[in-house]
Each structure stands twice: as C-alpha cells, then as structure tokens.
Symmetry: C2
C-alpha cells in the first residue's frame, strides 16, 4: 500500500457521507475523484465523473452509497479496480457487505467500514468536513484482508479525526441494531403516532423533547429502508427487547406502582450518565 | 393588576425553570423574590428566603416546583398571599393543579401556566435567561379567573419571549402526554434496554442518534416521576397508540414487506417535515 498522502482515492456516491469524507481528506491524499450520477458534489473533488469505469486508476475506492447499491456495485468495482487496489465502504450493516467483499477477486484488497456518525440531512449540500471528528469508525476484515490494508485504513480513519474499532460483522450488526437502527424506528413510530392523532395542538405544543425524539424520522428513506431491511434479524430482536421494557413501564404506570416506576426512571437516568462518562473516557 | 414593570414577583422553587424565569424577567419587574430551601439561586434574585411566608407582599406568585409540591403548597400560598395577588405555576400537568387553584380563596386570582421548554439539566446552575424564548406557553383559566389576570399573564409571557396559548386543562394534558411525556418514557425504555444488554460495544458505537434519543432519560426523576403519575390516564392512552404503531412496523419488518415498510418510513419523514414547516409559521 502507498502512504496516505500518495494515494489516488475514489469515492463512489457523493451524498452527505461521501462528500464529507472528501472534505475531511482534502490535502491528506494526492488525488480525490468522485463518482455519482448527480454532479452536485463536483466542487468537493479534484475530478468527478458519472461513469463507474473512471475508478480504474484509484489506489483506494470508497463505496459511500446506500447498502443495496453497495451490494450491486461491489462485483463491478472488483472487476474494474486496478491490481492491488483497496476497496472499502461506509455501509451501516456489515454482514451482507462482508460476504460480498469475500467474493471479490484476490487481486484486490477489501476492508468493511462503518463510521458512527451522520445527520438527518442528506446530499452534498449538507457535507461537513468535521462530520467524522470524534466518531467511532468500525473496521471489519475479510478472511484474506492483509495487515497492510488494515493499517492503511486505521491511518485514514485517524486522519479524519475518527477512532478505529475492529469488530466482527455480526458483533457490529447486533450492536448497531440496538444503538442506531432501533432508535430510528422508535422515532418513526413516534412521528406516525403523533401524525395519526391529527390534532393541531400537538404541533403547537411539541418542543425540544419531541424535536430530538423525532429527528431520526427525517433521515433519508432510501438509505434507512436499506439499513433496516438488511439488518432485519438483529433489529427484530432489539425491537422485541425494547417492547418488553416499554410494556414493563406501561404495567407499572397502569398499576400506579409509583415506587417501582421511579426506580426504573432513576435506573435509566444513571445508565445514561454512566454512558456519557464512559464516552468521555473512550474518546479521550 | 399593576403593570408588569411595577410588579413585586415571587418565585417559589428556584431550580432550572424558576431561576431561568427570574433571569428572563430581570429589569422587567420591580422586584424579584425567590423562595427555596436551597439557597444556590440567591444571586439570581433581588431578595431570597427559605420561608414561605416571605411571599406576603408579592403581587404575583409563581410556583415553579415539581407538581406534587405545587399541589401541597397551593392551599398555604392561597392563605399567605396578599389580597388581589395573582398565583400562577409552571406545572406540566394541568388538570390536578387547576382543580386545586379553583379551591383557592376568592380574594386571590389564579392562572395555570405551562411553558413548553426545559432541558435535561436541572438546578439553578443550569439557569438560562433565554430558556423561554420562542416557546409556546400554555395558559389555563379557572371559572373565576379575571380577564385582567389573563391579560397580565399574556404580557408576562410575551415579555420573556414566549407565545401564549389558551387551552383547557384536559386538552393540554392529552396533548403533552403525546408530545412530551410519551417521548420521555420512550427515552427511558431505550436507555433501559441498552443497559440490560450489558455490552461495552454498545457504548462504543452509540453516536448522535442514540444521544438524542436517550437525552430525555437524563431528566430530573423527582420532576418527571410527578409528571408521569399525574398524567397517568392520558399517558397510558398515548403509550397504547404508540405501541400499536411500533407493533405495525415490527410486523412489516418481520413479514419482510419492504414496500409497505418504506411507505411508513416516508410517511413519518413527510409528517416531520410538515411539523417543522408548521412550527416555523406558528413561531413567526
């Protein structure tokens, strides 16, 4: 592998994540090439094309499209890529992508990636050079991923201010079902239940609590539809565990068991404080 | 009623909400008196005491304690208040408080209030003079609330940058169950289900989505315990409607009915956009 600052890097899919990555890597790689049918991210790149075969001379190829498109493109990218090229992705569910990466020709290297950041806005116009700063960036190896390829990805991750974390695809997928995909569905359900009430007063009274709890419902539906259906089994388990917790709270409230209810509220408050404290140590 | 800038105003309970109100009213009333057993908010007021009877010469008395304490204090405050004094509150559930206000002696006026703002931090140290800016501030009248008292409250609400909205106690309580108390319980359940998984990887991978969806779980438990138990019936209905929405999403995911699932995700996204648009017009 070349050094990062010698690298010709190609990003396929130049929406929020791909464009933000380009901005974060500006000046840290030799050349940034973007590929997307939508040319709006052109200014974020050194060169730009709508043709997949324009990736032919890239040292590193980053797939930054929705998951389904990553799975569709991977075989073609594997064929078009130069010998020794490193192929990586930003997809939120790793098991199906790692299976497709394992099937790539041996003359290319592949490392799965998932940066734990984003926002509810989408598209190149929402790009932010600091989007990746401070985030955990998961890396997954295939059976034949070289140490050199992993080392390169670690350097890239640190160069954009993120923190690499090596996980197996299934460990990753179960964890993100709980902390990312479940929260998205909870937010969707909240928005739907408020909308079905069809009461203008709700919209007048909804404040910062509702705003935060409904924010994820504004996420791009193409991206998130791929995510939830690609991580179906893990997400269904997380949903089941969540529904149990909610049913317990409902039962305590229904029984007017105030002492037990307050114990739960306090446990949740302390758990969040413990997480915030952990997070500060982990990011430090 | 005196003009706002001639008013001696007393705030009972000088945590986040009471202290922020004092900061927001600084220079807009003649005198600010605070009452709290905890003296930490003293610098935010002209005078401060831990004795309830020190409210005796106030023109306006604001109860800014948790709901249960408001209900306990109201009869005493009604006895101690000067003739013609206006008693108001900041409680998040209006039916029980309006019932207690209706029982106050006829020589005092009473208006229920609920500003739709706050944050998960509590105490005088989190006070913010701009906390009320742009928020909807619900006002509830008793059967014998005078127009003068309502007019005064409208002026006070506008003076701190908020927007008055007149509602009946039950209309208020049903709406806040959906947009405020339900989101709190959803956040608590999310935090509890993540904590029970007891997996360090969750804490490493949890990012901004989880942070926002769990924020309300950090709320003060004394305050929120009072809120959820005081609004039990409306909150149980909201929980039931929410659980139905979540079960529908779960069923579609379980049946792998991707088209119907994407329709739901899109409906939620559009509903949130409609709310954000409505909110901008309503605040303008």
């Amino acid at each position: 592998m070349k050094a990062l600052n010698e690298t010709h890097l190609c990003i396929i899919g130049t929406g929020l994540m791909g464009s933000s990555l380009a901005l974060a890597l500006r000046g840290k790689v030799r050349h940034l090439h973007g590929i997307d049918p939508d040319p709006s991210a052109t200014p974020h790149f050194d060169t730009f094309s709508d043709a997949l075969h324009s990736l032919y001379n890239a040292d590193v190829i980053v797939l930054a499209t929705p998951i389904r498109t990553i799975l569709e493109l991977l075989p073609q990218v594997g064929e078009l890529a130069a010998d020794g090229a490193l192929i990586t992705d930003l997809g939120s569910v790793k098991a199906p992508i790692m299976a497709a990466m394992a099937a790539l020709p041996p003359r290319v290297q592949a490392v799965g990636g998932h940066p734990m950041c984003g926002k509810e806005l989408s598209g190149a116009s929402a790009a932010d050079p600091r989007l990746y700063e401070g985030c955990t960036y998961v890396l997954c190896a295939t059976e034949r991923t070289s140490q050199a390829a992993l080392n390169f990805m670690e350097k890239l991750v640190r160069a954009i201010g993120a923190q690499p974390l090596h996980l197996t695809p299934s460990a990753h997928d179960q964890a993100v079902a709980q902390v990312s995909h479940l929260p998205y569905l909870l937010s969707v359900a909240l928005m739907l239940s408020a909308a079905e009430a069809d009461d203008e007063r709700l919209w007048q009274l909804a404040a910062s609590g509702f705003r935060d709890m409904s924010r994820l419902a504004s996420s791009d539906v193409t991206m998130m539809g791929d995510v939830v259906t690609s991580n179906r089994a893990a997400l269904l388990s997380a949903l089941e565990r969540y529904a149990e917790q909610l049913a317990k709270l409902q039962a305590l409230l229904s029984a007017d068991d105030e002492a037990a209810l307050r114990t739960k509220l306090e446990r949740a408050r302390l758990a969040r404080q413990a997480w915030l404290d952990y997070r500060e140590r982990w990011k430090a």
